[in-house]
């Protein structure tokens, strides 16, 4: 009789071993805010809320599984995951479904999925593994190889075209290269070179392409076309004020721009809360990276953490009108099953890195 509560606790302990409390709490807080906002914005499609809840359950299960896998095991998946990802991207380019003018989806039996989504994790894994393998002898050549490994999927994704995902994957690769220790001077030189190459590139563009880029930068130039969403979302954010209009009192119904809905209903205070949660989540991730046991684990954790940041910054920046409109979701908040799954697998990896940080030292 006395054994029962004892073993129950053991079971709970077993089940939660490897789960990082702060990470789970912060990401779930974001999901809850997201569901509340989704509920408010999608009264015409209530099914979206229940769908997102079941997406969440799948994502949490995946997180739980990944959190229990040690980083050394993850490392073995790096190369296959990358190669499969590239193969699938090529398959999409050749035989993918076209949705809204872009070829992004691949039919797998009954379901469709976006291989580009998979690349968001496969590329950091691959680069972390590659740098880890050559850790002791890292030279400029290795960084060049890494840049090629990065460029291949980014170009394939950009061609679909899916600019948002391409930017995210490119950013992830850049972070891996940065944390692997590329020299500051090389970094600065690359930056200058990049900026300098923009000028002749601009000259090669067609008039309409230039206009399109200018519209990305200044949406008021094209209020009838691409700029329309930005103008609308800026109005929504601005009209929220300090305290917001209150939950369910917003006017926006675009679930694509969920941050506009959130911002309108919860105001500046809500935005600050959201920023704080993201900041804490990122701080936690960077801490985990700083204390990780292996080079691989460090790179992977730091890269994934900064990806969360990139998602959040780009999305909020575009809705509030300081960044061009590209298809980047607000992490843990936006509607969408695949994105949620990717994000929670990322959380799972961070948890795995944290719980296995002592393995090597002992």
């Amino acid at each position: 009789m006395q054994l029962a509560p004892f073993s129950a606790r053991r079971i709970v302990q077993r089940l939660t071993s490897g789960i990082d409390g702060p990470l789970l709490a912060l990401s779930l807080a974001l999901v809850v805010l997201g569901l509340a906002t989704l509920f408010s914005a999608s009264y015409e499609q209530p099914a979206r809320v229940t769908a997102q809840v079941s997406n969440l359950l799948v994502a949490l299960a995946a997180m739980w599984l990944v959190a229990r896998v040690p980083p050394q095991t993850l490392m073995r998946f790096a190369l296959p995951a990358y190669l499969i990802g590239i193969a699938l991207l090529v398959a999409v380019a050749l035989a993918g479904d076209v949705v809204n003018g872009a070829r992004r989806w691949l039919h797998v039996g009954v379901a469709r999925f976006q291989p580009s989504e998979m690349m968001k994790l496969a590329l950091p894994l691959m680069l972390a593994w590659y740098f880890h393998k050559n850790e002791s002898t890292l030279r400029l050549r290795d960084f060049a190889v890494a840049a090629l490994l990065l460029a291949l999927p980014v170009l394939l994704i950009a061609r679909q075209p899916d600019l948002g995902t391409a930017v995210l994957v490119a950013a992830a690769g850049f972070y891996a290269i940065f944390f692997a220790g590329i020299g500051w001077k090389i970094l600065a030189a690359l930056g200058v070179l990049g900026l300098a190459s923009l000028l002749p590139l601009w000259g090669l563009l067609h008039d309409y392409q230039r206009r399109r880029i200018l519209t990305l930068i200044d949406p008021t130039q094209d209020p009838l076309g691409a700029g329309y969403h930005t103008i609308q979302s800026t109005i929504a954010v601005g009209s929220g004020g300090i305290t917001g209009k209150g939950w369910l009192h917003g006017t926006q119904t675009h679930t694509d721009f969920i941050f506009a809905v959130f911002s309108e209903e919860f105001g500046l205070i809500g935005n600050v809360v959201l920023l704080t949660i993201y900041a804490l989540l990122i701080a936690r991730g960077l801490m985990i990276a700083a204390n990780a046991a292996t080079f691989f684990a460090r790179l992977l954790a730091a890269t994934i953490t900064l990806m969360f940041f990139t998602y959040a910054f780009v999305n909020m920046g575009m809705v509030s009108g300081i960044l061009p409109v590209v298809g980047v979701p607000l992490p843990f908040v936006s509607y969408g099953g695949t994105a949620l799954l990717t994000l929670f697998i990322g959380i799972g990896i961070l948890m795995s890195v944290r719980s296995h940080r002592q393995l090597v030292q002992t």
Partner: protein, 643 residues
């Protein structure tokens, strides 16, 4: 020792990594601080402005369609303009019963069967159109009557719209073209060009002619209004407005007076005429007869008029000047002579004795003159248009040499004129035949086929613009300028004027003495040869060449109804000419379909046009009169021919 240093190395690396983590953390904070500042700016500083924009009234962005640019002739005469008028428009999405609404509208304003069928056609063609016109050009009285009854017709509104108008009607209709409602195909094309957003308020688009080829220039930039709208979708007030920018005006090289003279000279006959300024490629006149009234198209053409135009055996919608292909007939001979001199196959003194036929492979190729022209040198071969001379010459030169030389003059290639829908024609060569035909025995080039190429028959088939361009190139001593209708484009907003510079396509290397010789022979045609009847008494010098082209397919189609064959399969009449001989300012081709001998039908038209161009001389009496007399002359020619 080594272990220790490795450990230290490891610690150093960890330190550098953690340093970078710190840098990243700092960047994250900076980025979030930037977002925070932006939020404060939007939600605190500018809150009031955005709140009023968002509160209760929604903001609708209403596009303002720009005024379409004008098309003017070289002297500034307006050929396509806009005027404002009221239309009665139905918003299909807001109307429950379309048929009943239209029925009831008929009680208030005049809605004819024509209007209904046009509306139905538009409705079927253009899905998800916001609104469609049921009546255009309402009278003031009708506007007032509808306004009084407006409450009865939700989803029906009066709009002020700009209409396109072509004051010259069917004159130069194939040059100017027409506009029509944007349809599904147009929308896809606009999306491809990534200009769809700029067409949000635009209902019409250039469908043919210059209206189509300069669509992007003429269209302008769409403006927009931010309008507050209430719950019912009615505009309350305008918050901001960005005016539309009118499209650019296009001024042509074409002279509408010359055009009128040329079209009048054709009368009711079918055919084409293209006149080019040799030194620039500027098109001075561009005729395709019959034409059509482009004004029929601007409101959406009613099905009855469309059927009439589309089913007419005269094919008035075909732009013959760039899409009609004709054998050049004897107008090919000056270029053959040029080729012979340049390639050294003949000298200026070469002569033959012409028995009235050329025998090749046991077959007699007959000269059009029975018994032949006797002693014929190169000069005379052009002046009297000897067939025998050129049968022989073509045979001596061979098809490859002919095709190679003629290609340089633009035969069989699109001229690149600034109009859509140009045909390539056929410059015959063994390679062309290989591609054109399937069966091996058809693909082979036979030496006998080369013979009739020499007199512009056989597979030879060119567009009038090509014939005009070749004439202009010869007149300019081998300098070929791409033909163009637009002279300059005016941006009304900036006042900028963009000239379309003459584009030199190529400079054909020709010996001056050879060019001079051929020009002299062509001048001889008009003085003492086949063109003398039309040009003998002209007050200026000119060089011409007549041509009579057999209508292809006549022999194969012998089973056809004889009467029809007699009308439609009569020879085409051609004439090419440039003037003045010393420094040409005009080169032109005139083609009269089924007009018989070139000297009879086409040459007098060319004369009338040149008289106006060179002397400013209008045909005797009003313009309409010579048209009649010319038509009569044409009929006379026909009689002679059929006999």
């Amino acid at each position: 020792m080594r272990r220790a240093s490795e450990l230290r190395n490891h610690e150093r690396e960890l330190y550098f990594f953690q340093l970078r983590i710190g840098v990243a953390g700092f960047a994250v904070l900076a980025a979030f601080a930037l977002l925070f500042v932006r939020f404060v700016h939007l939600q605190v500083v500018q809150h009031d402005a955005y709140a009023s924009k968002a509160e209760e009234n929604r903001i609708s962005i209403v596009p303002i369609a720009p005024n379409r640019g004008l098309i003017l002739d070289r002297n500034g005469v307006v050929l396509a303009r806009n005027y404002s008028a009221y239309t009665l428009e139905i918003f299909p999405a807001k109307v429950r019963d379309l048929e009943r609404t239209i029925q009831e509208l008929g009680e208030v304003v005049d809605v004819q069967a024509k209007d209904r069928s046009r509306f139905r056609k538009l409705f079927a063609e253009i899905r998800n159109a916001e609104s469609l016109p049921i009546r255009t050009r309402l009278t003031d009285e009708e506007v007032a009557r509808f306004a009084a009854n407006r409450y009865r017709f939700p989803g029906v509104e009066i709009k002020a719209r700009l209409f396109r108008q072509y004051p010259y009607g069917d004159i130069a209709s194939h040059v100017i073209g027409y506009i029509g409602r944007i349809n599904q195909q147009d929308q896809e094309k606009l999306a491809e060009l990534e200009v769809a957003a700029n067409y949000r308020g635009t209902d019409y688009i250039g469908k043919s002619g210059l209206e189509a080829s300069y669509q992007q220039e003429l269209h302008g930039t769409t403006g927009f209004e931010q309008v507050e709208i209430d719950a019912a979708g009615r505009g309350i007030r305008t918050l901001a407005r960005t005016n539309a920018q009118a499209g650019n005006n296009i001024t042509l090289t074409l002279d509408i007076k010359l055009q009128e003279v040329a079209e009048a000279a054709f009368g009711e006959r079918r055919g084409a005429l293209v006149a080019i300024e040799p030194s620039s490629g500027g098109v001075l006149a561009f005729v395709s007869k019959p034409g059509f009234d482009p004004n029929l198209f601007v409101d959406g053409i009613d099905p009855a008029s469309w059927a009439e135009l589309n089913n007419s055996p005269d094919r008035p919608l075909t732009n013959r000047a760039i899409a009609g292909i004709y054998p050049p007939g004897s107008t090919f001979k000056p270029y053959m002579a040029m080729a012979a001199l340049e390639l050294g196959k003949r000298t200026q003194k070469s002569a033959i004795h012409d028995p009235g036929y050329f025998e090749f492979g046991g077959r007699r190729f007959r000269d059009s003159k029975k018994g032949g022209n006797g002693y014929v040198d190169l000069y005379k071969s052009i002046v009297v248009s000897s067939d025998t001379f050129y049968y022989q010459l073509a045979n001596d030169m061979g098809i490859d040499a002919i095709a190679g030389f003629m290609g340089k003059f633009g035969f069989g290639a699109k001229s690149g004129i600034d109009l859509e829908g140009e045909a390539s024609g056929v410059l015959p060569s063994p390679e062309w035949k290989q591609k054109r035909f399937r069966r091996p025995e058809q693909q082979k080039w036979y030496a006998g086929e080369t013979v009739s190429i020499g007199i512009g028959q056989g597979y030879n088939a060119y567009t009038p613009i090509q014939l005009a361009l070749a004439m202009a190139t010869l007149a300019a001593n081998g300098d070929m300028y791409r033909p163009r209708l637009a002279s300059y484009i005016d941006n009304l907003r900036t006042g900028e004027r963009r000239h379309i510079e003459p584009a030199l396509v190529r400079r054909i290397a020709l010996k001056a003495e050879n060019v001079e010789f051929v020009k002299r022979a062509m001048a001889g045609v008009n003085k003492e040869g086949t063109g003398a009847r039309a040009f003998g008494n002209a007050e200026y010098t000119s060089g011409g060449k007549t041509g009579t082209a057999q209508v292809i397919g006549m022999k194969q189609n012998e089973k056809y109804d004889e009467k029809k064959v007699a009308e439609r399969h009569r020879d085409h009449s051609l004439f090419i000419v440039f003037a003045p001989v010393e420094s040409p300012t005009i080169a032109l081709v005139a083609i009269v379909e089924n007009g018989g001998f070139g000297a009879r039908a086409a040459a007098p038209i060319a004369r009338t046009v040149l008289d106006y161009h060179m002397l400013g001389k209008l045909p005797e009496g009003a313009i309409a009169e010579p048209a009649k007399s010319d038509a009569a002359a044409g009929a006379q020619d026909d009689e002679e021919e059929s006999d």
